[in-house]
Symmetry: none
Subunit: 222 residues, 4 copies
DNA sequence: CATGAATGAGACTTCATTCAT
DNA sequence: TATGAATGAAGTCTCATTCAT
């Protein structure tokens, strides 16, 4: 709970929460909803348990969210929007578009950035992954508004590096797919191994080898 | 493709053996349970809907499966076991261990094999993916009994090809991770694009490029 | 189960079972019905458990007994009838009516007789006691056909001894009530103490003191 | 009868204390649960009927009592505790220990007191009697916490009167058993005859004769 | 705004009973 | 006659949602 709270506090400052007016109770409700949904899945979670963990009465939830599903969406929809942020906001955009000289630096930055993001929003991402298959609206939202923009942005980057001549001449979407697959695979395994550093999982090395693998795979002479 | 045939027959035998003791109604129950679980998720599925789609009385479900959860497990547990089959059966083992001369042939066979498997069990795999996070027993089963064996088998193959000298000298587990990530990424995107063949997705080409990417990434001079 | 079976074997020989035709399965059904009803009570017993313990199929029960209630009655109704037997049959009747010279001998015989009876039919009596309140037919049967006859017989005995002059001149029904209360109290406590013989419960002594208490209470100078 | 009044008030206070926290609906649920359980037995009663008679929705029952069994226990457990009250409270204790001069007065008081108690709690006692055999916890509670204390108290009284010399020198437990048997027998028959006063059952006389019987049986010269 | 008792639809499950084999 | 799969009514219990306080 504390962990979730911390993240939330951060979110509160950064996002709409700061501008909108959320009562303290509402914040607590959201926090425990995230907690419970992530723990048991949306369908298996009961509003009464959420209320209990939030320390509010059952009815209070329905004062802020008309239905249980609205509560879910109030968690998941903003999360989807936030997924796109780094690709659109000054920070990431600026970096990718101009600064880095070589592609491996881009990969390194992306890995760093996504790991941080996942760590901070693990619970919400878990909920998102679980519920996406059952909510067409979310799927459409994710695909049209988010994925499209992300890919568009990434495409530009890839094309830029292809133009520099060392990268293989594949369709940019293919390159993006190969990069993302490999990176996500690295992050997934890393997550399973609990980010520990030992003989079984030498994170720094694995990351470098992963980047090297991609670079070689894309035709950069190593 | 002789090997693929062999697997197919073995799977058939196994499935038949199980279903021989099934009444027609029980088969129908299983089929609609898979259908409904895949469609709505386990927790959001009701036994009454499963019964309805199977064309049986609700009570009939509970004559064959003591609880709703037992029904789920009767679907998911065998699926987990089947996941391992191709890595353990003589057919596949023999092939991988000795027959193929170059690593890209191995990759090609694996891709073929897994695509076929996923196509045949898509619904069940969807259920499996959805439910794994909520059932520790399944997690343990998957990790200990299945994953361990699969990795062990794959490790042998990798080591054999590393010994031939053209492949980079990385930990075999790292190589396996990189291969699987890339292949799964290919299969995932392919699945989303619905296996269509058009300007957007030229499957034959994507597959070859994916294999080439891996081979290059692993140090084979292209 | 063995215990119950033994009793049943005896019953079989003695009662209608010998004349009627009971299949072996039917006997087993009755035996396990008695067992389960006594253990869980009629309403909380399931025909499926009875079938299971009897080692027959669920349907078999309903081939012999149209309903679950008929199965109950086939156990309980004969039991009620048997309750009266000792008061009507030659054995007991003869004894009470003529042989014994003093009332304490009558009491002693009754105690002996009832203890034996209860021991042999404990399960069935337990069922009877549990179910009597919920089945008017049984109540009527018990009251009219059984109790009336028993009391009638007992009344004669009491009157006979009253005529001998040492017993108080109370309504015979009052005397019967006092005797039965005291005797049942003795048997009840004895049953609780599990018929053990030790410092806590010296059965022989308790029985004699009980008889002495009744005799004194009824005016016999001790 | 001052003592009886005292008890009454104490009981009232205790009951009120419990019911003060009860909503009107909860009281109604309890009342109809007692009604239905007494009428049909616990296992044969349905929560839906209880709800119906109480004029509430079925779900309302489960808001107050987690399970049907908890509802039963909420009725039966306090009843067991109340059974002991008169034997432990100052009122009764004082009376028995010191005030009464002769044993028949004690008996008379006890009869009076228990008849009143039974009349007031007939339904609950019926439920208790029915369910005791199937709930080990209740058995233990009754035996350890209740019966032991009651017997201890009664023993003191008996010993006191034995010391006065007119009572037979039997183990006090034997004397208690004989008294209780006889009294319970009287109350039982009286209950069956519905407390009517006619030629068949002259209550005042039966009661006196019962007391006389006990007194004589215990050695008091009549 | 917040509460929490109340609701009633519907969830899972049990079980007496039927019937084709 | 015996079986046991199938039934469907009914049982216990859960839960999102409402509403008087």
């Amino acid at each position: 709970m504390t962990e979730t709270m911390e993240q939330w506090m951060e979110e509160l400052l950064k996002s709409e929460a700061a501008s909108e007016k959320m009562t303290e109770k509402q914040t607590k409700i959201l926090a425990s909803a995230i907690e419970v949904f992530a723990e048991k899945g949306y369908a298996a979670s009961s509003t009464s348990e959420i209320a209990q963990r939030a320390g509010v009465a059952e009815g209070t939830i329905f004062r802020h969210y008309k239905t249980k599903k609205e509560l879910l969406l109030s968690i998941v929809a903003p999360a989807i929007t936030k997924l796109i942020a780094p690709f659109v906001l000054r920070g990431f955009g600026k970096v990718l578009d101009s600064n880095y000289e070589s592609f491996d630096q881009v990969l390194r930055a992306m890995i760093e950035n996504r790991i941080e993001f996942i760590a901070k929003h693990r619970s919400i991402l878990k909920i998102l992954l679980q519920e996406i298959p059952f909510h067409t609206e979310l799927q459409v939202h994710l695909q049209k508004d988010i994925l499209a923009k992300v890919l568009e942005r990434l495409e530009k980057i890839v094309i830029k590096f292809q133009a520099q001549g060392q990268m293989v001449d594949l369709p940019s979407m293919t390159i993006i797919r190969l990069c993302i697959s490999t990176i996500m695979g690295y992050i997934a395994v890393r997550t399973i191994y609990g980010e520990r550093e030992d003989a079984v999982w030498d994170d720094a090395r694995e990351r470098e080898e992963t980047i090297t693998f991609i670079m070689r795979g894309l035709g950069y002479s190593s």
